[in-house]
Symmetry: C2
Subunit: 430 residues, 2 copies
């Protein structure tokens, strides 16, 4: 999806709050919302407002109008299934309608709902959730805790490693959940421990929403992969490291992950991300991907420069009126595998993707200190606790801790766009 | 769910084909069906007929009528979500209506559809699919291939090991699918192979359909676990062993499994299985389950004696008019973990189950030769090919091979009930 008129940095909106916000007219992310007593329906963020897709559909022609109508349902699965041409037509029409000087200003003004008035919902019925492991820095940091001399497994540089996750417990932030209970590694008596997790962690990821699916048995080649991607949100894939550590051999993570995952409410489309592409590169000495995971377009611009930040707010900090403190600042550009490679690899065996499926990138850590996407990396398995500005320390998350993840794209010559926040709070175990 | 009047061995149906069939009046399994040109809807098998739930609802009172109405939808999720009291009321009412001498015979006769006339559909929208590993014999057989001296990992006897599977590629048999392609372990040049799987296998499992779900954060205790289970079908969790072997460290199976899974079309309810319960026991010297996985009811009758058979039909056999040949004959009573333990463990961390979720038992192998639930066990990793009656040999499945899985329950003093078949065919890679 090339840069086009909808990305023009000179473009402004008659919605005054759009300028200087996370949601300028160059962004136009999708979500579902409701006011109290209403049913959920699709909308597009502009500044501090939401364009109600059901209301605006009457003012849009052709494919754009059809797409807006599909987007007015209680989830975006129908719009996602329409494919890239429909999303693009809707974006172009909304861009024109919201632009300063648009003849539709009066009509579309009546389709706006203030974000302050609404509750955001899960934007799609997520049929399947797959979590990848696409940051080599995360894989290395984690592997080093277990295998100091040989942190990366032999398959890592060849396969976009992934596994199936739990869909039912994915929620939209801000949300909270009780600290999970479970079995932990046995002590000296040989009997596993059981109780609330003592090693609660977050994982900073991006979530990739599938748009149009593929029929079972028909892989998606690299050159078509991004046509099947609707957009990207922030994903916190909460992890109970002690439960995970005891259960995960030989079949992978299960209850250490399935109690909760939190996404941000707005999905930024792949088209909105067009100005923020980066080349796909491999470090010197690393193998090039196998042919089925290679394409010229991916080499030229398969990556995405999305800045990622994690902040922590403890109960004591909130009581003292202190702002959340930063735990990490990194970028998705450091990932070892691109979105297109995740999609193509996922389907190479004939697996069918469906509209609304969610692909997690895996924890996104960077090459330098301060870029780690999980506490287990920052504290080296809990051995090196961090000290917060108020003097509290953390090896892992405490009850009442709120984790706030944000993401944005900025680049010379482009208007900065934001993803909003994925926010979640760990409550005491029940 | 105790044995009651619906299990009375003396009970017969005015549907003459019911007697001596897999679907006598003591069974009454649920599925969804359609005739050509119709939409899918729920039904109950009786002999070689199907009771159309939408049609029969008008003849049933109270909760039974409401349950039949819910079951008339295109999937059974609504009926599943109503809970055990509703399923039981519907079973009692259908048992009475189908019994020899029922005053409803004429009315219900008009609600019957011959099974020969219909196509069966996926009985539920499966939100999440979880695959367990509940046969210690399978875990030991597989582990021995990799770790001859120490086949079982330390967590096996404590945790019902499980992992998340792929929902989208679950289909109802009979079905066929192309042999999957994928990466395989590197040879001497260090570069992974890529191509059609050369180690295609089946896995003989049972599939447990969740009925009423649980709210996120609220575990299901052992004594309530089976109230959340709608019923059981046969499940073939096809596996590409070479793809799986290269990809599965450290996060578990992914593309080696996600290309296809095949279930049988009829779900046998937990109530229908009441006469076939077995005590839950641990071999001498094995630890007892932790308290959260223990209950008196589970100890007394947590197990199920379900006979399981796998047969193979090759293209050459079909061309010669030869019947499928048996590969294994075993029973679910050999499993190390019960259905209730799978449900309770799955939710102990607060994970929410939803109506229509599917829990696979994992491959069900028994303690003796001839009871192995997968070719990799029978052929010891492909090293000891089997010879079929027609002289063909198999280390793994060949193109055109059809795997037929059947299951039934038989016991003195009870009428034998069947599950039907889960049948699938491996087609050549595309």
């Amino acid at each position: 999806m090339p840069v086009n008129a909808t990305h023009d940095p000179a473009l402004t909106s008659w919605v005054a709050s759009a300028q200087e916000s996370s949601f300028p007219i160059q962004n136009l992310p999708f979500g579902v919302f409701r006011r109290a007593g209403e049913t959920f329906r699709g909308g597009v963020a502009i500044g501090d407002q939401i364009v109600d897709l059901g209301l605006v559909a009457a003012h849009l022609d052709g494919l754009a109008g059809e797409a807006a109508h599909a987007g007015s349902a209680s989830t975006l699965n129908g719009l996602m299934g329409m494919g890239a041409a429909a999303w693009s037509a809707l974006r172009a029409a909304l861009s024109a309608a919201l632009a300063t000087g648009s003849p539709l200003q009066d009509a579309v003004s009546a389709c706006l709902v203030p974000q302050a008035d609404v509750e955001m919902g899960l934007p799609a019925t997520i049929g399947d959730y797959t979590d990848f492991y696409s940051s080599i820095h995360h894989a290395t940091n984690i592997g080093r805790l277990f295998r100091p001399d040989n942190p990366l497994l032999p398959n890592y540089r060849w396969i976009p490693i992934g596994y199936h996750g739990r869909s039912s417990s994915i929620g939209v932030g801000p949300e909270s959940f009780p600290r999970p209970r479970g079995q932990k590694r046995p002590g000296e008596d040989g009997v596993p421990g059981f109780g609330p997790s003592a090693r609660m962690d977050y994982e900073l990821e991006l979530g990739v929403f599938v748009g149009a699916g593929n029929p079972q048995g028909e892989p998606i080649p690299m050159d078509a992969a991004e046509d099947h991607v609707f957009g990207i949100c922030i994903l916190n894939d909460w992890s109970a490291r002690d439960i995970q550590g005891w259960e995960y051999q030989p079949l992978g993570p299960f209850l250490g992950k399935s109690f909760a995952s939190t996404i941000s409410p707005w999905i930024v489309t792949m088209e909105a991300l067009a100005p923020f592409r980066t080349p796909f590169t491999r470090p010197a000495g690393d193998p090039q991907p196998l042919p089925y995971l290679s394409s010229d377009a991916n080499a030229a611009a398969g990556g995405l420069d999305i800045t990622l930040e994690t902040r922590l707010s403890t109960e004591a900090m909130r009581a003292a009126g202190e702002a959340p403190t930063r735990l990490s600042l990194g970028s998705y550009r450091h990932a070892y595998w691109t979105v297109a490679q995740l999609v193509t690899h996922h389907t190479v065996n004939g697996c069918n993707l469906q509209p609304g499926d969610l692909l997690g990138t895996g924890t996104l850590s960077g090459p330098e200190a301060g870029m780690e996407g999980a506490l287990i990396e920052i504290t080296r398995g809990g051995k090196d606790p961090i000290t917060l500005p108020n003097g509290e320390t953390r090896s892992f998350l405490a009850d009442g801790d709120t984790v706030v993840m944000t993401a944005w794209c900025e680049r010379d010559g482009a208007v900065t766009i934001g993803f909003g926040e994925a926010t979640g709070t760990v409550l005491p175990a029940r």
